[in-house]
Symmetry: C2
Subunit: 371 residues, 2 copies
Amino acid sequence: MSTFHFSVQKRFIGKAEEIDRVDLVPEHPLMATIKEIARRAGVSIGTVSNVLNGLPTVRDAARKRVLDAIEKLGYEPSLLGRGLRKDKTNMIVVIVPDITNPFFPGAVRGAEDIAFQNGFRLVLCNSDNDATKEATYLREMRTYRPSGLIIVPASLSQGIEEAKAYLKAGSCVVYMDRIPTKWKGDSVTSKHEDGAYAATKYLIGLGHERIATIAGPLTSPSGSARLQGFRRAMKEARLRVPPGYIQEAEFNKQDGHEKGKRLLKLRQRPSAVFAANDLVAFGVLAALREEGLHCPADVSVVGFDNLDDSDVVVPALTTVDQFAYQLGAKAAQIVVDRTRGEKKSVRRILLAPELRIKESSAPPAAKGRIR
Amino acid sequence: MSTFHFSVQKRFIGKAEEIDRVDLVPEHPLMATIKEIARRAGVSIGTVSNVLNGLPTVRDAARKRVLDAIEKLGYEPSLLGRGLRKDKTNMIVVIVPDITNPFFPGAVRGAEDIAFQNGFRLVLCNSDNDATKEATYLREMRTYRPSGLIIVPASLSQGIEEAKAYLKAGSCVVYMDRIPTKWKGDSVTSKHEDGAYAATKYLIGLGHERIATIAGPLTSPSGSARLQGFRRAMKEARLRVPPGYIQEAEFNKQDGHEKGKRLLKLRQRPSAVFAANDLVAFGVLAALREEGLHCPADVSVVGFDNLDDSDVVVPALTTVDQFAYQLGAKAAQIVVDRTRGEKKSVRRILLAPELRIKESSAPPAAKGRIR
DNA sequence: AGCAGAGAATGAAACGATTCATCCGATGAC
DNA sequence: GTCATCGGATGAATCGTTTCATTCTCTGCT
């Protein structure tokens, strides 16, 4: 007993020296442990644990003494210790390809809200759209035994082995936004194909006939689904899609700008462009300005995502809202429910996107058709 | 020995049943532990640990057998177990007020890059600008024994007690962007006052005399510093700041829009507005459009942050670049260095912001002065 | 041959929690 | 008075690591 006391004392002094001049908070000597609480309350650590976990088999008198000690020492249970023992933590690992694309913070925000309310915490990983980095994160973070994994896979990563490993380890997995075709588990995404179809059809309805698209990476499910939607609408309207009218780009402004320029330099310049997402559309708007063209007078532009900034841009961007916040929130909700022990069958949530007509789209100036 | 074997076998079957129909990856039975590696390699767990940590006191023969076993079982060391034992994990807790403000993802991205390269992982917390939520995160995440804490405090939170508790527990703490006046430890921020001064002086140099500002929350250090910079420039130029020319707003578009409207409705409409940040400036641009005014012809607008989207907006926003990525990267670098054992004295990094002149600012249309 | 010393390897203790079989003590029934 | 019962409380075992004092095994020297 006395040796134990001594060793604590010694360590305490050591740490205090290490962090010179930081004055110590009165009653909280270092990090109190369950053992210390038990000692102060005069009960066993098992009893403290029972209080902590709200088990009913604790007499009121004992419970009170425990709670008092906890209060007094400012005790906070170690999530590391608990996690190790229970083989599960309150973390939810979230992997996104690019946190600087505002679509993802929107989704992350939704996930964070739901997670926080339910006592879960988010570990955010940025894969940089790099399958190798993604794999590193996956392999390593699994050892923290998170409650769940919410993943938007990198464009080139179609592997789901690591995800399965999470399932095997008892964590639930939700694929978000981009769902690998092989994945049979929980997922949340919006109807990319429908959204693209609606947007294209809308342009057709305005009277456009020379409609081009800048698709996202075709290796990503969302990119290729949006292209399919575009093609379906064009086919249905029996409109030709000349060579060069389909460009492929990364989901960012730079690439949108570059591919946009390419479109605008075509012999037969398109009168409307459907962009894979808002960032790409922003790039197209910039390209238009550089070429001295006007939107929507010369070229209509439609995006996808409905980022906050699509209202700020001039002209305000006509776009397809895919409810990023909701996407994230739903994904987190699945993790919460499953962790609570819900055994229900696979949930594959599909949100219906909505076209938001703003200022960047208008009927074409009367000109020749494609022939 | 045989009982040990049996118990492992039993557990394996149990888990496998729990996750029905997920086919097992060949050689990776569940989550292999160091004990299993030791058994396969025919060495003690201590030796495996030594291999893992690159200690030189392992014979090549033994090392090879261990590495082979690791490879074969796809073993990954448990960061929970390691963290508990070492009383420290590879996590860096990052707390930001609002992840949907693109400035923060920019900074987070910088921090993530540096962290990842050095083997650290980011735990992202969104305080919602709510001091209570922030405190909850702080209290709880500390028990994960992170290597560091990078915090952008909520506007109303000037408390640094919890941060000190991290220091006491051996985690390093870096305040970012908004530095509480009482904080004496490591910090990274840009020279808000200088940036605001430069922006205001630039407007004055253009010939503006009726210059208004929409300041950020004055409870936040960055908000009040930028206002000070504005005031200093105005005072130096002996320009009056009429009542109503200083509005206070949250750092977001909605509030910028509202306060912008208020400014534009003043009897003496300002000919230039310096906004607390780009989001606020975006709101002002929207307000201008609604009022049928033109920028910069009728009113010049200058922002702060140089968000990616400040180029997309029309007119492109003149703004003060404060290098979000660098801010985050520097903060993470401090955590990395300190965790590596660097004892150097306090580091208070101040980045010099730079004015980026674009399209939203121009000399004023000749009109009356304020008198 | 005997021994010192160095290099390798071992294995028990510890980190902070949960879990569960066991034990304790009071009560009630007979 | 004896015994079964049961609600409370206990404390050892456990989770997967690291650490370190100890032990083991050589090698080389006298």
